[in-house]
Amino acid sequence: MMFVVGYSPDLHGFSHTPSQILDCPIGTEKVEPSGTEIAQVPLLSEIAAVAQECCDAGWDGYGAEPVSLGTYRLAHRLALGLPDALPIPSVGAEPDGSLTFDWYRDPSHVLSLSIAPDGRLYFAANVGSRRRSGSDDFTGVLPAEVVDLINTILPA
């Protein structure tokens, strides 16, 4: 099994699909996946799919910034750093080029986490009647507060 993570300004391609090879002359990385990466294939594939869909300027019709290779790599690293017991988030993209990890039960129980192009994490959460939001530098793992909020929103 081989993962290819590649990006080319011409091809605008991201791929993390084992069976798919991208002919990307710029920034192609072919890596043997670790055990953690294999376990996270669904999430990593979703990150790649969203980045692929949103890698052109104006992708939302309202002037959004493109998701860059750098942001994609940050999101990839964030995904690999998620605690094993945490539910798998859904992935989205934001108009400033950030990628979003989203843990959702209902509109009153949700945490939205952005990984921004500048390497900062921004989060906001509704936990019943409680509201929590903040930001932090991304160090490779989720802040403990964010993990606690997710476990409250989506208890095991």
């Binding site: 104006g58 019709g61 002037g63 910034e65 939205s112 509201r131 939001s133």
Partner: protein, 145 residues
């Protein structure tokens, strides 16, 4: 951006045009993803006041937004909510002239901090309950043999 228009009445329905079902709408319950309500790039959010326009007129305005996409495509739906949902978050909804959308308005007054914008978007969805209105695009009928 200059806002020389009037404020939209809180009871008026407004819409945000959508172009990707997978990216914009949660499959669990059809709710709108909060990223679709984040202001950018001038700390403003573009919306369209529905007013008394026909569905065709509204979708035409959505298609005008879709024509700005890197690969132009028709609008697939919209998120409808009352302007009051924004006023409840201490924002304003101000009409702005637009050649492609006679109902164009901007939601202004957002805080500059990203985490605060994210929180406001979550609250708009929780309390304003935007509704996903899917556009029924006509499927081409196959040519008769």
């Amino acid at each position: 951006m200059t806002h020389d228009g009037s404020e939209v009445d809180p009871s008026e329905p407004v819409a945000r045009f959508l172009f990707s079902l997978r990216r914009d709408v949660r499959p669990q319950d059809g709710s709108i993803r909060p990223e679709r309500l984040y202001p950018y790039k001038y700390v403003e959010l573009s919306v369209s006041v529905l007013g008394s326009r026909t569905p065709e007129e509204i979708w035409r305005a959505g298609d005008a937004v879709g024509s700005e996409l890197p690969e132009p495509k028709p609008c697939i739906g919209r998120a409808d909510l009352l302007a009051q949902a924004f006023y409840a978050q201490a924002l304003k909804v101000v009409r702005v002239e637009s050649p492609s959308d006679p109902g164009h308005a901007d939601v202004t007054g957002w805080p500059p901090e990203k985490e605060a914008q994210k929180q406001i978007a979550l609250d708009i969805i929780a309390k304003g309950k935007p509704v996903f209105v899917e556009r029924k695009l006509a499927t081409p009928t196959p040519a008769s043999e």
